[in-house]
């Protein structure tokens, strides 16, 4: 313990508990990387931090706090992103073990690859609410982190968001990524929101543009009527869409707020608002974020928030990105999502709930993190002792399974090859290189600074140290469709992709396909043969490697005693665990909370994503 050099990645919920436990357990040389700064909502569990530390580096403050009770140990903090190029294989090689306390899949995969390359054992972990797990990954002895399929962030087809929402989350995505973005974000971004007004279907006018000196209240009402009234009426005109679906109701300001007519003119009503933190809720006297507002109140919030942005935060308009800690933005998105939900007969939600969905907030408590930290240290000690027969994957359950709340499982054996031959089906005549790189190479394959070759030709490279003409050339290539690259990529072409930092290289065989189902294949391309993290909408290849499952009734009835599983029984345990999962974490009810959330190891940042290129697919855009 004393001699060991340990790297911790993450100084948040798990990180604070882990650093404390490592220090108490006799570790004397700990390095810790975390790019984040401290926020108020961290303080309910990241106990090394205090109110006075808000805004400061987590890694640094954690170190200082632990040194208070263990002054003679060495803790080296890095306020940095673990994906930075200075955290290379050489850097990782200096450690005896790496302990992850991360909250996103992307960083975990990156660290996994570096640990494989550096041949350093990795102990992975994750928590959500009352659930948690710890897994051990040692090259040559166990599977690597990516050998088991991981759930990836859910994305929704464009048409669901723009035309046929059926869940509240669809309304949130619309409100956040379309409406909010359109009104307050970068004007140059593509946006799928219908911008033509009814009076002027042929003109170029963008309804969302506020005319010079246009009265704010008028403007706000105009926007309201356009998106909740006119756009819905237009959609209703397309009978086909609604043949088997509940028709939405258009809503106009005069319907939602018939009695407010008198007050709707003029600027926002309030004088209670502070200059630097305008809030529609405060203006309107709505105090309880847990309360579900009526359609009328949601409408008032919508109008008021819109006005407040223009009155008090005009300078930011055009540059705003939704931030869950931006109260006014959250109010606006909540109200907009609720009005839309109302239109489509979807239940309304409180600001508290809406914020959770829009901000991809992961619910978290101190106790689970403390338990997991303890389990991590126990595994880390085994790793340092080379006690590989006793490595365990540890699961912390909310409800006991076979009398166990903490369940050890033997790790799986290493796979012969993590990456079997990959095949990518794509329309080579219409898909740009940039899309393949973003959606497949960086996103699915998790490469950070990839290099793409076609035969001996380098068509793209990412990273530092590029010559200006090289960089310009690559920029040009990004915008070319595959078939028109200098080294054309067509059916049966083989791409070689590589990431030096991660020491990862693989080939992708390209298959041309003309058409893709916009609902089932919203990316417009399909990757097969990938036994790493799998998209929910594509058949998992992980199943093909399944081990024979033994289905004797005895397995299920055996007591807590008998947990040394033979390979066949491992699948069964996963099935048992899955039956405890409620896969829809997004259906939170305010008071009950969703503690039966997925047993996922990663708390993904981007749980809710809009398909990035709305131009794909066959469906016509609304006119």
């Amino acid at each position: 313990m004393q001699a060991a050099k340990v790297l911790m990645v993450g100084a948040g919920g798990i990180g604070c508990e882990l650093l404390k436990t490592l220090a108490l357990s006799g570790f004397t040389d700990i390095h810790i990387i975390d790019l984040d700064t401290i926020e108020v909502s961290n303080l309910n569990r990241q106990f090394l931090f205090r109110q006075s530390h808000v805004g400061q580096s987590k890694a640094k403050v954690a170190r200082d706090a632990v040194l208070k009770f263990r002054p003679n140990i060495n803790i080296t903090p890095y306020h940095a992103n673990v994906k930075d190029s200075n955290f290379n294989v050489e850097f990782f090689k200096q450690f005896n073990v790496v302990l992850n306390g991360l909250d996103n899949l992307d960083a975990r995969r990156h660290v996994n690859r570096l640990c494989l390359a550096a041949e350093v054992p990795l102990v992975e972990s994750g928590t959500t609410g009352f659930l948690g797990q710890v897994t051990v990954h040692v090259k040559g002895k166990t599977e690597c982190y990516e050998c088991q399929p991981k759930p990836v962030p859910k994305s929704y087809p464009v048409c669901t968001i723009t035309s046929t929402p059926s869940k509240f989350v669809h309304c949130i995505v619309w409100a956040k990524d379309l409406l909010f973005a359109k009104l307050f974000g970068d004007k140059n971004q593509d946006n799928d929101l219908n911008v033509r007004s009814k009076d002027d279907s042929n003109s170029k006018t963008d309804v969302f543009e506020r005319s010079v000196d246009e009265d704010l209240s008028q403007y706000a009402q105009r926007i309201y009527d356009h998106v909740f009234g006119y756009n819905i009426e237009t959609a209703l005109a397309n009978e086909e869409t609604w043949k088997n679906r509940r028709k939405p109701c258009p809503i106009y300001v005069k319907d939602a707020l018939p009695e407010d007519a008198v007050q709707l003119n003029g600027s926002s009503k309030d004088h209670k608002n502070e200059e630097h933190e305008p809030s529609a809720m405060v203006s309107l006297g709505l105090r309880n974020p847990q309360e579900i507002w009526s359609l009328a109140d949601n409408s008032r919030v919508f109008l008021e928030a819109l006005k407040l942005f223009f009155e008090k935060r005009e300078k930011e308009i055009g540059n705003l990105i939704f931030d869950k800690d931006d109260q006014l933005a959250v109010e606006f998105v909540t109200a907009a999502a609720n009005i839309r939900a109302s239109s489509f007969g979807i239940p309304l939600h409180s600001l508290f709930e809406a914020k959770g969905v829009a901000g991809n907030i992961v619910h978290a408590v101190a106790t689970t993190n403390a338990i997991i930290a303890g389990l991590i240290v126990i595994e880390a000690i085994k790793v340092l002792k080379g006690d590989y027969q006793n490595y365990r994957m540890m699961y912390c359950l909310e409800h006991p399974t076979r009398k166990m709340l903490l369940m050890p499982v033997e790790p799986f054996e290493p796979n012969e090859s993590c990456y079997t031959p990959l095949v990518l089906e794509v329309n080579t005549k219409t898909t740009k290189l940039r899309e393949v790189i973003e959606k497949v190479i960086k996103s699915k394959l998790g490469m950070n600074l990839p290099l793409v070759m076609v035969g001996a030709s380098l068509v793209f490279e990412d990273g530092e140290g590029l010559e200006p003409d090289e960089a310009a050339n690559y920029a040009l290539n990004l915008e070319k469709v595959l078939a028109e690259l200098p080294a054309p990529v067509v059916n049966d072409t083989k791409l070689t992709v590589e990431d030096f930092q991660q020491e990862l290289k693989c080939s992708i065989n390209i298959k041309h396909r003309d058409e893709f189902d916009e609902e089932k294949e919203p990316d417009g391309m399909v990757l097969a043969g990938w036994s790493g993290p799998v998209d929910k909408q594509v058949t998992s290849n992980g199943n093909k490697r399944s081990v024979p499952s033994s289905s004797s009734a005895d397995d299920v009835n055996s007591t807590a005693e008998d947990v040394s599983l033979k390979p066949g029984m491992k699948r069964k345990l996963n099935e048992i665990l899955e039956s405890h999962e409620n896969s829809d974490t997004l259906q939170n009810k305010s008071d009950v909370g969703s503690s039966s959330a997925q047993l996922v190891e990663d708390d993904d940042d981007d749980l809710v994503m809009l398909d990035e290129d709305p131009k794909q697919g066959k469906k016509k855009r609304l006119q």
Binding site: T21, V40, F47, R50, Q51, A366, V377, H399, P408
Partner: protein, 330 residues
């Protein structure tokens, strides 16, 4: 317990601080937590973990009872005591821990209660909703449990003990009603009735299922040995092993148990442990107990009934229900 539900709304400060945990257990539970009063007797590696957890969770108040003076040995598994004699010298463990704990959450009242758990009377206990005892003799545990049960106020009783790399938690919620979430999201009201500590440990061993966790038996043997020898907890050492094993054999013969149910190796481990606490195990036990107390206060979620064991040797965290209900109950 106080009637739940809201006489007051959470403040903006509470909503901001507790946001992430409110998303786990809801506003109602958070309000109940803020009205709960907890007593902890015995400050050691596991109870400080527990205290950290419930202070962060936002209980109404936490009272610490431990008059023992801080010694260097205490610094081992305790992150609440700064290793500076000018700070801790001559002061009780409760005092020093109290100071540090206050820092974790200014909204929780943390205070010291001078005294000895074996001497506290019933009326004193009425101040609390939750009582946790650690590092106490069997006699003391039974006494406090009994006193809790005698009150007309409902007081939940817990013990928690760590022996190096394994440990035990005992839960007595008397009659406890709670809400349980079913698959599919609906909730269901349930009620459990708990035996007292006396009742639980009086169950003849030959009535217990064969596969009952060995730690249960081992801990009882140690407890009884300490009782019969007048040892305070943790004072029994490996040199006592022959006498302890003799007692084990006695009990086993009476109850027709075989050696594997109370293994010699396990007894040796417990005796060698003394007062040592392995910090990762403290974190685990303190975390589990924290969750249990939160469940009990909020009346949400199925609580442990009635013993919990963790052993780092196999990594299992197991619940034992003693006395085991007959198969047709539930």
């Amino acid at each position: 317990m106080d009637g739940g539900g809201a006489e007051r709304e959470l403040t903006a400060q509470e909503t901001a601080l507790y946001d992430r945990q409110i998303r786990v257990w809801g506003v109602d539970a958070q309000k109940r937590l803020s009205k709960a009063h907890v007593l902890v007797c015995g400050m050691n590696g596991t109870t400080i973990e527990f205290c950290k957890n419930i202070v962060l969770a936002g209980v109404g108040s936490l009272s610490l009872m431990d008059d023992q003076t801080v010694t260097e040995a205490d610094l081992n598994a305790n992150f609440l005591i700064p290793p500076d004699e000018s700070i801790y010298g001559g002061r009780s463990r409760a005092e020093v821990c109290c100071e540090s704990l206050k820092d974790f959450n200014p909204m929780v009242q943390v205070s010291v209660e001078k005294g000895d758990p074996s001497l506290i009377d019933g009326e004193f206990l009425d101040k609390f909703d939750i009582v946790v005892v650690s590092g106490a003799s069997l006699k003391t545990k039974l006494l406090v449990n009994d006193n809790c049960r005698k009150r007309s106020k409902h007081i939940a009783f817990y013990t928690i003990d760590c022996k190096d790399s394994c440990g035990e938690i005992f839960v007595d919620l008397q009659k406890h009603s709670f809400v349980q979430k079913k698959n599919g999201g609906e909730t269901e009201q349930q009620e459990l009735t708990y035996p007292s500590l006396q009742e639980a440990i009086s169950v003849p061993w030959n009535n217990l299922p064969r596969k009952t966790t060995k730690l249960y038996f081992a801990m009882r043997v140690l407890e009884n040995y300490e009782l019969s020898e007048g040892h305070s907890p943790g004072k029994t050492t490996l040199s006592d092993i022959p006498a302890v094993l003799a007692q084990v054999k006695d009990v086993r013969d009476k109850m027709s148990l075989n050696e594997s149910q109370v293994p010699t190796a396990l007894m040796e481990r417990l005796l060698a442990a003394g007062k040592k606490e392995h910090p990762p195990v403290c974190a685990i036990l303190g975390g589990i107990l924290g969750q249990e107390v939160i469940k009990s206060i909020s009346c949400k979620g199925d609580p442990i009934k009635n013993f919990f064991y963790f052993d780092a040797a196999d990594g299992k965290g197991v619940i034992e229900d003693i006395p085991t209900p007959p198969p047709c109950a539930n």
